[in-house]
Amino acid sequence: MQEKSAILTGNEAIARGAYEAGVTLASAYPGTPSTEVLETIAGFKDNEIWCEWAPNEKVALEVAAGASLTGVRAMVAMKHVGLNVAADPLMTLSYVGVEGGLVVVVADDPGMHSSQNEQDTRNYARFAKIPLLEPSDSQEAKDFAIFAFELSERFRTPVILRSTTRISHCKSPVKILKRKTLSRKAHFVKNPERYVPVPRYGRVMRQKVEERTAKLREYASKCPYNLVIKRGDDLGIVTSGVSFQYAMEEFPDASILKLGLSYPFPDSLIREFASHYRKIIVIEELDDFLEEHIRSLGIDAKGREYFPGIGELSPDKVAQGYRKIKGETVQEENQDEKESFSLPARPPVFCPGCPHRGLFYALSRIDCIVTGDIGCYSLGVFPPYDRMDTILCMGGGITLAQGMDRAGFRDKPLIGVVGDSTFFHSGITGLLEISYNKGISTIIIVDNRVTAMTGHQDHPGTGKTLMGDDTYTALPEDFARACGIKNVKVIDPLDLKRTLEVIREEIKKDSPSVIISRRPCALIEKKRKSALFIDPDACTDCGRCLRVGCPAIYKKDDKILIDSILCNGCGFCAQVCPQGAIKPVQKN
C-alpha cells in the first residue's frame, strides 16, 4: 500500500499530530506564528474534537487543564508572548500535573517578524520545571506532537512543544496516518491531595516535581529524539530546532547531537557526546539556553562567540560562524547588501478601505498622546499618521493611559487605543481600573468585528465560534457601561467629520469615555463599492488625498491617480479632497 503524504506547514503538522494522537479538546487565542494550529484542527471536522478560540491564552490553558483532569487529551496553542499571559496556570499546573496528556504549543518569533519582542520559550520549561520538545521540520512537528501526548501521560506533566516562525510557517513533506481511537470518556475522581495545591498538599507536590524532573532528565538521555549524527571526528555540534537544519548544511564535516527533547537537559548524553570531539560548538537561536548549561557541566562549549543571539539564525549567519571557527576573516556586509538597504522601504500599510485609516487620520488632526496596543492598528505609529506613542502588551493601550493620567500628566489629552479582540483578551480589567480609580482618559475601541492581523479569526464579539456555530455576541459598549463608564459613544471611523467631532468632545470631559470605532475589516466586508477616480479637471494636485496613506492612491508623472483594482470604494479620500475632485466611476 502506498503511503499517503502531503507537504504541510509546521502548524498544520502539529495539528495533524494532535488529531492522530486522539486529541479531544483544543483551545487557543490566535497569535502569529501559531494561529493555524487551531484552524487546522477545526478543519478536521471530527465531532469527537471540541475546538475553540478562547478570549485569551490564560483561559485557553485553564480550559485545557480542566479537560486533561477528566482524562482526555488536550492541546493549547499560542505565540511566545501568549505564554506570559498563560504563565500563571502553567506554573501551578506543573505541580498539579495532568491525567489526559496536555500539550502546550508555543511558537516563538525570532527576528520579531510579527511580534513586539523576541523571547525564548525554552526558559519557561526550566522555570515551570516541565519538559520541552523542539521539532526541526514539519514531519518532526507531527511526530513530536504525538510523542508529546505520550510523554505528558507517562510523566503526568504538561509538555511544551516549542516551535519558531521557521518551523510553523515552513512547508515540508509529512506522512499522514489515521486517527488513533482512544475511546476515553471524560470522568473525574475526587483527589484533593493531587488536584488542590493548598500549602499542605502543595508542599508534597513540590517535592514530586523535583522527583519527576530527575526521572525526565534520566529519560532525556535515552529519548529516541535526542540523537547523534556521526560525520566527522573533530567538531561536535549541539543543536535543536531549525538551527539543526542550518548546521547540517553549513557544517558538513561536523558530528551533531540533535536535541528534540531539549529540557530537562540530557546531561549524560551531552557528556558522552562531548568526550569524543576536540571542540564542542552550540548552535541555537535566541538565548544561550543550551550553551550555558553545557558549560555548567564543565564542558568548554562555545556558541555565542560565533553565532548571534539577537534575531533569527539563517544559513548565512551559520555559514559566517563556520568561517569564524575555521579562523577565516569574515567580511562585513558587501556592496549589494548596502544597496538593498538604500532602496525605498516598503513597510506594511493599512489596506484600502481599512477602517483604522479613518480613525488614525482623524487622530493625526488632534494634538494628543495615544497609548496603543497590539493589532493591525499598531501601524498607526508610522507616517502619515504618527499617532501611536506607546505599545507595551495586549490591554496596555488602556492601562498605560490610566497610569499617565494618575501620574498627573495633563499636557495633552490622553487617548488609549485598543482592538476589539484585544479588548476581550485583556482590556476589560483595564476599563474597570479606569472607572474604579477615577481616571479621565478617552479609550477608543477599534472594533473591526474580527481578530484581523492574525488572519481573521472569530472572537467573543463576532457571534461565531471557531467551529462555525452561532453564539452570543459580546459588545464592547455593554462591557464599558458595565465597568461603570458613563460616556460611551459608537462612531463609524470612515465618517471623518463625525469621528473628529466625537473625539474632540470626549477628550474635553473630566470623566472617562469609551468610543467604539466600529466598521468591519475591509478584507472581510463582502459588499464592495465601485472604485473612485480623480477628476483631472477638478484636481489641483494639492496631495492631501495622498496623505491619507491609501495604497490605492499614487502619483505617476506628477499626476495623482487611483488604482481601480486596489480601490475598495470606501470614499474616505473624497472627504479630505478640498476640491471635491474624487468621484465614483461613472458606469456606462
Binding site: 507537504i7 502569529t32 506564528p33 494561529t35 517578524h113 510579527s114 521540520d137 516562525t165 521557521r166 510557517h169 515552513c170 512547508k171 515540508s172 513533506p173 531549525v242 537544519q245 542550518y246 547540517m248 548544511e249 539563517s314 544559513p315 548565512d316 555559514a319 549589494d336 547588501e337 544597496e339 538593498s340 532602496l343 525605498p344 522601504a345 516598503r346 513597510p347 506594511p348 500599510v349 493599512f350 489596506c351 493591525c376 499598531s378 501601524l379 508610522f382 507616517p383 502619515p384 492581523m453 492574525t454 488572519g455 496631495g543 495622498l546 496623505r547 496613506g549 495604497p551 492612491i553 499614487y554 502619483k555 505617476k556 483594482i565
Partner: protein, 203 residues
C-alpha cells in the same frame, strides 16, 4: 538536477498572491517526487509590505532558507522588490521580473524616489533578466488576477517538471470559477519566451 538543491526566491508586494504562488511551485516539486522546503512570513510582514517566499527542492533539503547569492531563480511580481531581493541570486542565476511598478508609501508621500533604472541595475549583476508584461498577459487570459500564474508559466520551462503536474496543482489550488483563466494564464506564460523570440525575428 535531482542531486543538487535548486533554489527559487519569489518576491513581491503583500496582497499580490506570493504565498499562493510559492505554494503551487512547492506542490509541483513535491508532486514530481522531490524533497521540498518552502518558507514564508505571515502577519505584520504582509499588509502591502515587501514579501519574500523561498522554495527549495532536491534529493534532500535541510535549510528552509536560501543563502544570499545562492538562488537559481528570482521570480519577482514587482520591479522594486526584484531589485531589493536580487542579492539572493547567483551571478549565473535568472531574474524573471514582472514589469510592474507599485510605489511604496514613502514614494507617494514624496519622501523617496522610485528608482528609474531598476532593470539596468539588475542586469548589471545578473547575466539573465527576463522582463514580463504579466498584467497584459493576465488580462489576455481572462483576469488580471492570474498575473502570478502567468509568472509561474514563464518560470516553468526552467524547471524539470511536467506540464501535467503544473496543471494538476494549479487546478487544485485556484478557486474553481477561475480554473480556466488560470490554465490559460499558465500556458501564455509558458510560451512567453518563444513568442518573444518570434517577435524579435520579425522585427
Amino acid at each position: 538536477m535531482r542531486e543538487r538543491t535548486f533554489n527559487v526566491v519569489i518576491v513581491g508586494v503583500g496582497g499580490q498572491g506570493i504565498l499562493l504562488t510559492s505554494d503551487i511551485l512547492a506542490e509541483v516539486a513535491f508532486e514530481e517526487g522531490y524533497d521540498v522546503k518552502k518558507s514564508e512570513i505571515h502577519g505584520m510582514a504582509q499588509r502591502g509590505g515587501s514579501v519574500i517566499s523561498e522554495v527549495r527542492f532536491g534529493e534532500k533539503v535541510y535549510s528552509p532558507l536560501i543563502k544570499k547569492g545562492e538562488a537559481d531563480i528570482l521570480l519577482a511580481l514587482e520591479k522594486l522588490e526584484a531589485l531589493r531581493f536580487s542579492i539572493y541570486l547567483k551571478k549565473e542565476g535568472i531574474a524573471i521580473v514582472n514589469n510592474l511598478e507599485i510605489p511604496p508609501l514613502g514614494v507617494n508621500l514624496g519622501k523617496e524616489k522610485y528608482p528609474r533604472d531598476i532593470f539596468s541595475r539588475i542586469e548589471h549583476k545578473i547575466s539573465r533578466v527576463i522582463r514580463v508584461e504579466a498584467i497584459t498577459m493576465a488580462k489576455k487570459a481572462g483576469s488580471p488576477k492570474t498575473m502570478n500564474v502567468v509568472m509561474l508559466g514563464v518560470l516553468s520551462p526552467f524547471l524539470p517538471f511536467s506540464i501535467s503536474s503544473w496543471e494538476k496543482v494549479i487546478k487544485k489550488r485556484v478557486p474553481s470559477y477561475s480554473t480556466e483563466f488560470n490554465i490559460r494564464a499558465f500556458k501564455l506564460g509558458r510560451t512567453y519566451q518563444e513568442q518573444e523570440k518570434k517577435l524579435e525575428k520579425l522585427s
